[in-house]
Amino acid sequence: MNQPVRVKTLKIDDRDVSGREDETILEVARQNGIFIPTLCHLDGLTSIGACRLCLVEVKGVSRLLPACVTRVEEGMEVYTQSERLQKYRRMTLELLFSERNHICSVCVVNGHCELQSLAQTLGMTHVGVPYRFPRLPVDASHERFVVDHNRCILCTRCVRVCDEIEGAHTWDVMGRGIDSRVITDLSEPWGDSETCTSCGKCVNVCPTGALFEKGKPVADRLKKRQFLPYLTMMREERR
């Protein structure tokens, strides 16, 4: 017999909501139409709490908590839209824009980019920190796909989807801090990768123009992600 499911009741932005004990604040918020911004999180992949956009305030907790990995608790009072949080979120986006060379007007995913649209949603009209303008390579050695490090925000969705869903673990991260970079295999050209199955999942989960398919017009570069929750669900059922 199945374990009884425990349900927790809590408040998000002063609204009474309820969630299963194994659900996160983010999941419950979304079920209730409460918007919490995310970039590294993607339904169907392990959450890692890295982008810090989903930080929320919880009454009685001095730290800010990432909604994507924080489980709901009975009586919790969550605030998602305080001025302080909005300021931090805008600054986080500004830091991301300043980090590499995000030139939206000439980007292959202009109009379909999560970074770009979040900037608009969160009211970020300019970047207050100096742009860094690093010199970064573009690897077009793969027959179908391109990785443009100028647009990468190191969310590691590609790393996780390749490892957790495709099982190839072609992608990983090398270097430290501001010098971190996603790599294929042991930092070899993508086209030479012996582990890559060319499934294209990484391209579809990439929130920006860092990973894209060759030879498609910009308008067709909408990324398809609905397959992910389906795949995870079916796997869990089989288990």
């Binding site: 709490g49 730290r63 980090e99 190191l154 990983d172 430290r176 801090g177 501001i178």
Partner: protein, 547 residues
């Protein structure tokens, strides 16, 4: 197993040797080694052999004696003389003077506050025993605490004793050790791990290295007691690869302890088994953070993950895991031997026991010291440290490494404990203490630590990865006279944002050196920005017209 049995265990097969008439102890810890104490030791041995008095006089390598700035140090027993700055050419003279009037030229005064004001628990054997000999450790009551625990105490009694002692984590955050142990003990499952965090990485800090190099068995004994208390049978010592001597001595120590049945299966003939393996860090500062350290042991990229779940519940390979720092484990055996109440009688109300500090920077006596909690900074710097050399003026003391802050003159009489340091914007940290005089530029100091945090950020979360780089950029512009006041405002905003939004302790504390120097030395920042002038004369400023 009784202490007598332990001592018998050691001497098995060895004929009782008479106590030598004179024993010459040469420090062979890293600092003295780097000024050729190994050659001194060799020269002394040669000298004894040449004179044919080797049997009644013995040369012995020992661990750190503390006053590293006076190294190589050599102590002669039972004469009670310590020699400083010894070179191999002094060997003949030292041997000649055995049992005679000490050589005045080389004598290191030991009646000074540097030696008398210290209180040694963690370092009680350092500089006395040969770190490569388990016999030496056992001769000074080593492993009796473990034997007693296995003989007479239940795991809960061990935890109670640690809780009673008031010991708090010596890695920096000061979490109550007893509470941590009981959490792991309560966690379910039969598989648990004990990890010793020896990934000491703060610039200027060398407490853990010194303990491992000088008294490795103390740490192993502490780990074994912890393993018994929480119900673990496997331990890992995560040591940074930059500490080859510590690693070598630990390997030797583990082998010796296993041979005597003090580690491994059925320790002391009981059902308790505990194996210890060494894992080497690859030089990443962030791997001192417990979840990153665990990832590193698991063979993954050394990156922290959000907590909860804490390692006590979900640690190495998903099993409950106890992680303590080297110095924390080094305190365990004495607490068991002398009782928690004894330990709790030392220190302040909330910070018990002693703390080891690595005293460095603009201070006469640099080296390793152990002092009771609650001692004032002034006593540490001016009595034990001997004050500022060259008649210069004291400016600030930096504690807690890149996570800590700079404390100015006005707080010199504040007691050193976890809470007081936090109140003035710094932290206890692992024990690095860098003294700065008037020739240090505080903006430059902040820039140094920010450079460190930027380089050591793992790159996982955005605020730490990009925020530290941006803050470093602004500090660079301030120290080169290019910044404006609006950039200073931006720097403060970034400090706030990085502090409250970063994923792990590295990012959350990275702004501390900037925040504390801004708090106490804001005028220096303003001088750089408005007057284009570095008050300490450290930063290269653009040459102003008309000058």
């Amino acid at each position: 197993m009784t202490p007598e049995e332990l001592k018998r265990l050691v001497s098995q097969g060895e004929a009782e040797r008479p106590e030598p008439k004179h024993r010459i102890c040469v420090c062979v810890a890293a600092a003295c080694l780097s000024s050729n104490s190994d050659q001194v030791k060799q020269a002394l041995e040669n000298e004894l052999a040449a004179r044919g008095i080797a049997p009644e006089c013995e040369v012995k390598g020992v661990g750190c004696m503390g006053l590293c700035s006076a190294g190589p140090l050599v102590a002669v027993e039972p004469d009670g003389v310590t020699y400083q700055h010894v070179t191999s050419t002094d060997a003949a003279e030292i041997v000649e003077h055995l049992g005679q009037q000490p050589i005045e030229r080389l004598t290191c005064p030991t009646e000074t506050p540097f030696f008398t004001k210290q209180y040694k628990i963690v370092l009680e054997n350092s500089g006395i025993i040969d770190p490569e000999k388990i016999e030496d450790y056992i001769a000074r009551d080593g492993y009796t605490a473990l034997a007693r625990v296995l003989e007479d105490m239940s795991p809960q009694e061990v935890i109670d004793e640690i809780t009673r002692s008031g010991l708090r984590g010596r890695g920096g955050a000061g979490y109550p050790t007893g509470l941590k142990w009981s959490t792991v003990a309560k966690a379910g499952g039969t598989r648990k791990f004990v990890i010793c965090n020896a990934d000491e990485g703060d610039p200027g800090a060398f407490m853990d290295r010194s303990v491992l190099e000088s008294d490795p068995h103390r740490v192993l004994e502490g780990m074994a007691i912890a393993a018994y208390a929480v119900g673990a049978s496997q331990g890992y010592l995560y040591v940074r690869a930059e500490y080859p001597l510590a690693v070598k001595r630990l390997r030797t120590a583990i082998r010796q302890a296993e041979r005597l049945g003090l580690l491994g299966n059925n320790i002391c003939g009981t059902t308790f088994s505990f194996h210890v393996d060494i894992r080497l860090g690859a030089g990443a500062f962030v791997c001192g953070e417990e979840t990153a350290l665990i990832a590193s042991i698991e063979g993954k990229r050394g990156q922290p993950r959000p907590r909860p779940p804490y390692p006590a519940e979900y640690g190495l390979w998903g099993y409950p895991t106890l992680i303590n720092n080297v110095e924390t484990f080094a305190n365990v055996a004495p607490i068991i031997r002398n009782g928690g109440d004894w330990y709790a009688s030392i220190g302040t109300e909330k910070s018990k026991g002693t703390k080891v500090f690595a005293l460095a920077g603009a201070v006469k006596n640099t080296g390793l010291i152990e002092v009771p909690m609650g001692i004032t900074l002034r006593e540490i710097i001016f009595d034990i440290g001997g004050g500022i050399p060259g008649g210069r003026k004291f400016k600030a003391v930096q504690t807690g490494g890149p996570s800590g802050g700079c404390i100015p003159e006005q707080y010199m009489d504040m007691p050193v404990d976890y809470e007081s340091l936090a109140v003035v914007g710094s932290i206890m940290g692992s024990g690095g203490m860098i003294v700065m005089d008037e020739t240090s530029c505080m903006v430059d100091v902040a820039k140094f630590f920010m450079d460190f945090c930027m380089t050591e950020s793992c790159g996982k979360c955005v605020p730490c990865r990009v925020g530290t780089a941006q803050m470093y950029g602004i500090l660079q512009r301030i120290t080169s006279g290019e910044a404006t006041m609006s950039e200073l405002a931006l720097l403060e905003e970034l400090c706030d944002m990085v502090k409250y939004t970063s994923l792990c302790g590295l990012g959350q504390t990275a702004p501390n050196p900037v925040l504390s120097t801004l708090q106490y030395f804001r005028d220096e920042y303003i001088a750089h920005i408005v007057e284009k002038r570095c008050p300490a004369g450290v930063c290269q400023m653009p040459v102003r017209e008309g000058h």
